[in-house]
Amino acid sequence: KGDFHGHQVFRIVPKDDVQLALVRVLEDILDLELDFWRWVTPVDVRVPSHSLQVVKTYLENHCIKYFTMIKDLQALLDEEQRQMKSIAP
């Protein structure tokens, strides 16, 4: 089963279309394995652990505002599973 340990979801708030275009560039860098949850502003993107530093540096270098929406995705998924199992027939 998919393992999302260390994955975070960033909410990125581009201030204009130029910054939005810079964010969209990230989508084409396949090695980053980014998963865009929302393309509309604000942009939400799931970032695997191996790409966290690169994405953070990129956003900061371009002065693009962002914050961590989900700090530990796997923790949320574990909780979701726990809750389902507790009620499963």
Partner: protein, 309 residues
């Protein structure tokens, strides 16, 4: 064996649990609910549609679907709540009763069963169906880019590895083709509402072109009324408008196709996240989400009922 009164609406369910729920609802309400299998998914799962009908033949109908994108779990869960609401409100809620006395409602709770099952067993973040794409190691087609409405245009991808991969041709996917065949053969569907998550929006055509829909003024007015009703429960704030002006350009979407088929009241919802959970909306928000959405759905259904065309 359980029943639909003791069913846990406040948790997420596996595909087999949802299918069991459907069978229970039919068994408990044989004069109101029936199940139609409109086709099979790529992996051979049944594509179940619940029909809510008080009789008649080929009555004007309202279509509601949830779960075209596998990981948007709150949509499939909301579909379960809507189904139960329809049967409990028939005979007790005057609007629902009047609608069902003259019209049928069709509800497809899991448009993408293969993808949904995959989110439970392998990858919770899966969006597309599970089609093996020839010549690629990447799996799946985005079922909301596969419709014959601006197919292949901007806002979709021809790369099988993309989350918005459109497929090889319009209606190539059995999950889409089954609905297309059903809508065409029925011929009397008056409203088509497709439900997604998340970002809190109520949208209408078009997504593939900036050309305004010819009914834009009316669609806009109904949308405003619907989101006002939705907000009346918990204050949840929605944006509304055409897809292309409100979110982004997206080609090959379901409601653009249905609108072009002459189904005037074609809408798509993007349900909650009022907090910051995205696709991992906590299960305790299922019922509130469904309840508020139901109010908006009723506005659209009631408007459709009162404005025959």
């Amino acid at each position: 064996a359980g029943n639909t009164d003791t069913f846990h609406y406040t948790t997420y369910h596996t595909l087999s649990e949802i299918y069991s729920f459907q069978d229970m609802l039919v068994a408990e309400n044989p004069k109101l609910v029936s199940k139609t299998v409109i086709g099979q998914s790529y992996e051979g799962r049944p594509l179940n549609v619940l029909k809510f009908s008080t009789g008649g033949s080929n009555r004007p109908a309202i279509w509601i679907d949830t779960g075209i994108h596998a990981r948007e779990w709150v949509t499939q869960a909301s579909g379960i709540v809507f189904a139960k609401k329809i049967v409990t409100e028939y005979g007790t809620d005057s609007a629902v009763t009047e609608i069902l006395n003259r019209m049928d409602v069709f509800l497809e709770m899991v448009v993408n069963p293969d993808g949904y099952h995959f989110t439970h067993t392998n990858n919770r973040m899966w969006r597309k169906n599970r089609k093996q794409n020839r010549g690629s190691t990447c799996v799946g087609v985005d079922l909301n880019r596969n419709w014959n409405a601006g197919f292949g245009g901007h806002g979709s991808s021809n790369n099988p590895c993309s989350e918005i991969y459109r497929g090889t041709r319009a209606h190539s996917e059995p999950e889409v083709k089954s609905i297309v065949n059903f809508v065409r053969s029925h011929g009397n569907i008056k409203a088509f509402i497709s439900i997604h998550s998340y970002s809190q929006m109520l949208l209408f055509p078009y997504g593939y072109t900036r050309k305004p829909a010819k009914d834009q003024a009316e669609l806009d007015q109904v949308a405003q009324k619907a989101i006002t009703a939705l907000a009346s429960l918990y204050g949840t704030s929605y944006r509304y408008g055409s897809i292309i002006t409100t979110i982004y350009q997206s080609s090959g979407g379901s409601i653009d196709w249905t609108y072009n088929q002459g189904i005037k009241y074609s809408y798509t919802f993007e349900l909650r996240d009022t907090g910051h959970f995205g696709f991992i909306l906590p299960a305790n928000q299922i019922v509130p989400t469904a309840n508020e959405t139901w109010l908006a759905l009723k506005v659209i259904m009631d408007h459709t009922f009162k404005n025959p065309y």
